[in-house]
């Protein structure tokens, strides 16, 4: 299986990138390290002269956008990881900063996620956000908020895509890649 959902250009076009690889089975990834990882990349890239959200964007806005989006992606990877490594890559592609967070999840988890991801891409994210929060309010015991990807789109104009791979020998796990693109590369 090699499935793509949403906006997911070929990784080999990313070129130069900064990456971090985590090994949760050997070195436990504490929850607060999600934010620390995101903040590392946010600090790194927001201080590059070539990065700027829009003409009037400040460095703080760029740093916040990177930090928010990447923190959500890494939190998801840590939350749903089913062994193996978690990799975080950040680079530039066309007019965007590109984040790719990859981790292994159970195939059954992918089956649950798949329709939600299609809904995110094909629906109106602002309407979906309203509906999701109202549903969460009606179900206080909901274990997940479901707002991570949605708020990336509604609040940060992120373009999202996913790639799900099931290589030989992976058993009932799949390699799950989340790509987020932020329009903050100023040419």
């Amino acid at each position: 299986m090699d499935e793509r959902i949403g906006d997911y250009p070929d990784l080999d076009q990313l070129g130069a990138e900064v990456s971090v690889e985590l090994f949760p089975e050997s070195f436990t990834v504490r929850w607060d390290l999600c934010g620390a990882t995101a903040d590392f990349f946010a600090s790194y890239f927001s201080q590059m002269p070539s990065c700027g959200a829009d003409d009037d964007a400040t460095q703080a806005e760029v740093e916040n956008a990177i930090s928010y989006v990447l923190n959500e992606a890494v939190e998801n990877a840590v939350k749903f990881q089913a062994g193996g490594t978690i990799t975080v890559k950040v680079g530039m592609y066309e007019d965007s900063l590109v984040f790719v967070v990859s981790n292994w999840i159970m195939g059954s988890a992918a089956d649950v996620l798949r329709p939600r991801l299609h809904e995110l891409i094909e629906g109106d994210a602002h309407e979906l956000l309203l509906a999701r929060v109202e549903a969460n309010a009606a179900n206080p015991e909901a274990g997940v908020s479901g707002l991570g990807f949605l708020t990336m789109i509604t609040d940060y104009d992120a373009r999202l895509g996913w790639r799900i791979l099931a290589p030989d020998g992976a058993g009932d796990r799949v390699h799950f890649h989340t790509m987020a693109r932020l329009p903050i590369f100023r040419t």
Partner: protein, 116 residues
């Protein structure tokens, strides 16, 4: 009423009818429960006016945004409509995400320091 750890503090000040949020909130969904409990206690007071003070809240992840938006819905359903949220444009996430509160509680007043 107060809940805190190394990175955040949330508390209710009865005299000013204000909930203060301070620090960085990047908890897992279940870890917002103590904060939700404080907000539930505030809700139960049925206050005529309420202020949410966000000026020192540097980060809020999506689970925290969920907690905040759900509180806005609870206020709306309880008829507590004279609500003000105080934020700042200096903290970028607040500019991005606080405006959505109006979708869940249309009567809320959003005061952003740093606005012209």
């Amino acid at each position: 009423m107060e809940v805190r750890d190394a990175t955040y503090r949330v508390w209710f000040d009865e005299s000013s009818s204000t909930v203060f949020f301070e620090g960085s909130l990047r908890l897992g969904t279940a870890d917002y429960r103590p904060i939700s409990e404080i907000l539930g206690e505030v809700l139960a007071k049925n206050l005529p006016v309420l202020t949410l003070h966000m000026l020192e809240l540097n980060f809020l992840n999506s689970s925290g945004i969920n907690t905040l938006y759900k509180f806005a819905i609870a206020l709306r359903k309880q008829g507590i409509t004279v609500v003000t949220v105080r934020g700042t444009t200096v903290i970028a996430w607040q500019t991005k995400s606080l405006a959505n509160l109006k979708k869940f509680l249309p009567t809320i007043t959003i005061e952003m320091q740093g606005d012209e």
